[in-house]
């Protein structure tokens, strides 16, 4: 997972690229594989949830997201966690610059 978090005035801008094939049911069938894709993503800043999305098979491969949240300070951490259809989960962290 690649995360960039940047303080912009009174808010923090976060860009994240999650590594995942995001195989839709149709794509999986074509490839003879099982469908699997990220279904839920959250981001936290020092323990507080600041971003939250439930997702489907129609996000592009290696999903990219950009979002903002109120507050944040340079040096604080942004922690992003995703869960996929099979229950696999991954967490990445970045410091706010």
């Amino acid at each position: 997972m690649r995360i960039k978090a940047k303080l912009k005035g009174d808010k923090t801008e976060v860009k994240v690229m999650m590594k995942h094939p995001m195989l839709s049911y149709r794509e999986a069938k074509k490839k003879g594989k099982e469908a699997n894709f990220i279904v839920y993503v959250t981001a936290k800043n020092e323990g507080a949830t600041v971003f939250e999305v439930s997702t489907s098979q129609f996000l592009s491969k290696n999903p990219y997201m950009k979002f903002y949240f109120k507050g944040g300070k340079k040096g604080e951490e942004v922690e992003i966690t995703w869960v996929d259809l099979k229950g696999k989960t991954k967490t990445g962290k970045a410091k706010i610059k």
């Binding site: 808010k11 794509e27 999986a28 507080a48 600041v50 439930s54 996000l59 979002f67 109120k70």
Partner: protein
């Protein structure tokens, strides 16, 4: 002083414990609304039929009374590669936002829950199998608002 501190701490923990389970239920729409992800588009309509999208709006927000406005949606008029279509949305004051389309087998792409410190301004990249509408619906002050944009897809990107 110490007693007061102790009592304050206790109340805080109790409040957090009481609020946590319901909040989790409301936040993960995969678990809270498992059926909405299966609502199908009419693929034969070549992205024109909004039936699936309207059904999904009702299932997600409990109403299909939707007004135009208050929501900004940015998407390309023509997408050369349907596998990667950049979409940005803004809906100031929104608590819940749904991203939908008419181009893929099912209608729902994502549902955002806006936390207290969240800012409803999101960019994602989506897959579109064919030309269709991209629709954003946001709940603002108990009312539903939407923005709708047609994206012409030259090469489909959903294994179709």
């Amino acid at each position: 002083m110490q007693r007061r501190k102790f009592l304050g701490l206790g109340a805080g923990i109790l409040a957090a414990a009481a609020a946590a389970p319901t909040m989790l239920m409301a936040e993960n729409y995969r678990k809270a609304l498992p059926k909405v992800w299966k609502i199908k588009n009419n693929e034969k309509s070549k992205g024109e039929d909004m039936t699936g999208v309207n059904e999904a709006i009702k299932a997600i927000f409990g109403s299909d009374k939707v007004e135009e406005g208050k929501v900004t949606l940015k998407a390309p008029a023509i997408a050369e590669n349907g596998a990667v279509v950049p979409v940005s949305l803004k809906a100031e004051g929104a608590k819940k936002i749904a991203l939908l389309q008419t181009a893929d087998p099912e209608s729902v792409v994502a549902i955002f829950d806006v936390p207290e410190r969240g800012i409803p301004n999101y960019s994602v990249r989506i897959k579109m199998q064919q030309t269709g509408h991209v629709v954003v619906v946001a709940e603002i002050d108990g009312k539903l608002y939407k923005a709708d944009k047609v994206v012409k897809v030259t090469v489909g990107g959903c294994g179709g």
